[in-house]
């Protein structure tokens, strides 16, 4: 257990002391560790957040920051695939609508998965089964949770395909995934994940494999569907543009932990963590005048086996020497509130960060 709960208790941060969450989804001190031959990979190392229905949380971070593993952990899929033989270690609490998923009966979770929570994967070609038609796959997903005959289920599949904007849905329902283009496959997958009207939808890099014009269509679709169904959405991406489009709240991950979390506007306009500054500075922007140079983050992301001691970001942080006594290299910073519903984990004082942001970083963006 981390010290995280102490600071947050007064301001409504998730605490393990009160087991009656009032949020729709609440994750408390989630840890997912994978034992490997090279050592323990700490993919997620103490992550907490809340999400209400009808809201969208954007999780951003670079590859290897633990954002995908977080979603797999919530879905209970972290043990699947290649990790099956050597079991992943998961701890913490995940409350979904009053049910704690980690201690719940696996059969119980299986009933929830697909029905109450669903997932859209990054690569629709590998997430869809090549041997079955799109229709068969959607029908299967529907009939697992609904006791209906195949005909009704197929009608439902056609209805969903129509809803996600696939032309001639009554014909395309019998097509195989390879007959669809990338954008259409992604639509089909969205149709499949929404067929049971899930209340929580996790989209893991839903548009990364797509072209911008198709990406715009898919983002639009996700936004409309969320309005229509009122689901809670977690969108995981490395593209700050995509989160800015969709997310109400943003959670920035680095080295398996949350370094900054808050309302989208705050994270974009008053970021309080040097890593968030780095992300914003590395991005060429179409909506601004041409920058002379990008301001990249030096170095590369840490290995999750050997997370740097102290603040995980310290080897790449240009301000690591500002806090005294070398605390950045010895003590892990905890999330502290820096404004309304806005938390950041940094050793610098809030005044120091505010000054650096307004004087040094913001003018260069």
């Amino acid at each position: 257990m981390t010290e995280l709960s102490k600071t947050g208790a007064a301001v409504g941060e998730p605490t393990s002391a009160s087991p009656a969450p009032n949020s729709f989804l609440e994750v408390r001190d989630l840890k997912v560790h994978f034992p490997t031959d090279d050592g323990l990979v700490k993919s997620v190392d103490g992550l907490s957040f809340k999400l209400e229905k009808g809201k969208t949380l954007g999780i951003v971070g670079e590859s290897g920051s633990g954002k995908s593993v977080t979603s797999l952990g919530i879905m209970g899929l972290h043990t699947a695939g290649q990790y099956g033989k050597r079991k992943a270690r998961i701890s913490g609490e995940i409350w979904l609508d009053g049910t704690e998923l980690l201690t719940a009966d696996p059969d119980e979770v299986r009933k929830l998965r697909g029905r109450q929570m669903a997932m859209i994967f990054q690569d629709p070609l590998s997430a869809l089964h090549p041997y079955y038609t799109i229709g068969q796959q959607i029908v299967e997903a529907y009939r697992i949770h609904h006791d209906v005959d195949k005909k009704t289920a197929k009608r439902r599949a056609v209805e969903m395909l129509d809803r996600v904007g696939i032309p001639q849905p009554d014909k395309r329902v019998d097509s195989y995934p390879h007959e669809f283009s990338g954008g259409m496959r992604q639509r089909a997958m969205i149709a499949m994940s929404l067929v049971n009207n899930p209340e929580l939808l996790i989209a893991d890099e839903p548009t990364t494999a797509l072209d911008v014009t198709v990406q715009a269509q898919i983002l639009d679709l996700i936004r409309d569907l969320q309005k229509e169904f009122g689901s809670a959405v977690i969108i995981i991406t490395h593209d700050l543009g995509v989160v800015a489009e969709l997310a109400d709240d943003i959670l920035v991950m680095y080295g398996g932990r949350c370094v900054e979390r808050g309302p989208a506007e705050k994270v974009f306009y008053e970021p309080r963590h040097p890593y968030t500054w780095g992300l914003l500075g590395s991005m060429p922007r179409l909506d601004r005048e041409q920058q002379e140079r990008l301001i990249p983050v030096k170095g590369s992301p840490p290995s999750l086996i050997n997370i740097p001691s102290g603040c995980a970001f310290n080897p790449r942080c240009p301000y690591a020497d500002i806090p005294k006594d070398d605390v950045t290299r010895t003590v892990r910073p905890e999330l502290t509130e820096v404004g309304g519903r806005h938390w950041a984990a940094c050793h610098m004082t809030q005044e120091q960060r505010e000054r650096i942001w307004t004087e040094e970083i913001a003018p260069k963006l």
Partner: protein, 430 residues
């Protein structure tokens, strides 16, 4: 960029050994010229493998690359941009057209004919994992160009490779390491070091940063920038990310289904795109600004997917998805013409400019459907700007006529277009 090519030769001793075939092009001169370039991949079927069709990957493109500049090439997947890159580096044999490098026709040079030119034209690949041989050390990989070209750099290959590694920001001590010991960003730097080994004149980079994380992407973009400044390189950068392309390029070519639809200076293109496709493409880029989240109306959603390059649409290839398409677009292919200085467009009904086919005002049914996806504000605004530009053009032409009668010939067409242009814009608006 401003650097004298001779200075470059001093900083890179590798060059001094290899006698250059052609004399260096001064900055601003045409380094590469492409005319009517085509590449059709045959589709074969049946027992006899008879050709039943062809993928028109690149279907007649013209452009020039000037020494010292960066030409960015953007487009969706399948638009032929990568094929184009492989054609100009002659990794693929063109089906038709001509590629000239420093005035020399290299379109059909054989392997041995190309070899001396390989020194001058290098490529950086997209995937830093598959473009480096996992069984070779970094020293072997970066040193390979010297061995292949028979160049003996001053102080030996090892010393030169180590110098190159430090140029791209890697530790020269890593000479004996293998690719798997490096991260994605570092591998991409190795690929860049290899491309720079022989001091090339032209570097073609195919999606050089798209496989990298955002923070690493910025490092590599800055590195490419610095190297251009120091070594006076000329780049052709192929990418799908419009923000990256804007950041690195001086001029930008927008491709759609094997054709260049717009070719313009960076500033003109991003300030006032003329081809509807360019406009749609740019509006589709998600803006990292949550305050604009609800400004959805600015976005132009395109209908459906890119048509198949096996049987591309007749006339203008974009007419099946364009909200301004009229009869002429289905029958006549628009030519890539310079409507403004430094901005070439292939469109009958360009944005931000006077209409090129004002007599044709009836929208296709397809276009009406497509227009439903475009917000009214966007349509109104585009009609307004187009009308304004048309009026401006009329004024300047009139003024020119008043003072100078000699130049009347050129302006005749423009003058004739003015009023109907505005009218047709209004009809589009409706």
């Amino acid at each position: 960029m401003s650097e004298n090519p001779k200075d470059t030769a001093v900083t890179l001793p590798a060059q001094s050994d290899g006698a250059t075939l052609t004399k260096d092009a001064a900055p601003g001169e045409t380094l590469l010229k492409v005319t009517g370039l085509q590449k059709h991949f045959p589709i074969k079927k049946g027992l006899l493998q008879r050709q039943v069709g062809a993928v028109h990957a690149v279907d007649g493109i013209d452009f020039e690359v000037r020494a010292g500049e960066t030409l960015g090439v953007v487009g969706e997947s399948g638009c032929g941009k990568s094929t184009m890159g492989r054609l100009i580096t002659r990794l693929l044999e063109p089906t038709g057209g001509k590629v000239e490098f420093e005035g020399k026709d290299i379109t059909h040079l054989g392997v041995s004919g190309m070899r001396p030119l390989r020194r001058d034209v290098q490529m950086i690949f997209q995937d830093p994992y598959s473009s480096l041989n996992p069984r070779h050390t970094i020293g072997t990989i970066v040193g390979a160009p010297f061995k292949l070209q028979g160049v003996e750099p001053e102080g030996g290959i090892k010393k030169e490779v180590q110098r190159l590694l430090s140029v791209v920001g890697l530790n020269p001590e890593h000479y004996n390491r293998y690719p798997h010991e490096f991260s994605g960003g570092q591998r991409q730097r190795i690929g860049i070091a290899r491309a720079l080994a022989l001091n090339p004149k032209l570097v073609v980079a195919d999606e050089p940063v798209s496989a990298l994380d955002v923070s690493i992407q910025a490092q590599v973009v800055n590195l490419l920038d610095d190297l251009q400044q120091e070594l006076g390189l000329t780049y052709v950068i192929i990418a799908h990310d419009l923000s990256v392309v804007r950041h690195v390029s001086d001029r930008i070519a927008v491709m759609y289904l094997g054709k260049i639809v717009e070719l313009a200076d960076r500033e003109s293109l991003y300030r006032a795109p003329m081809h509807p496709y360019t406009k749609a493409l740019m509006s589709a880029v998600p803006i990292p600004d949550p305050r604009r989240k609800n400004a959805k109306s600015e976005r132009i959603l395109l209908k459906g997917d890119v048509p198949s390059p096996i049987s591309p649409p007749s006339g203008c290839r974009f007419h099946t998805r364009c909200w301004k398409a009229t009869q002429i677009c289905t029958t006549t292919e628009p030519k890539l013409v310079a409507l403004k200085p430094g901005q070439q467009v292939a469109c009958h009904h360009p944005e931000n400019f006077e209409d090129q086919a004002p007599q044709d005002t009836v929208l296709l049914t397809m276009a009406k459907e497509a227009a439903e996806l475009v917000a009214d504000e966007v349509l109104a605004e585009s009609a307004e700007t187009s009308a304004a530009v048309a009026a401006e053009v009329a004024e300047t032409t009139e003024a020119a006529e008043a003072t100078e009668t000699a130049g009347a010939e050129a302006t005749e067409t423009a003058e004739a277009d003015v009023t109907p242009a505005a009218e047709s814009q209004e009809s589009t608006d409706k």
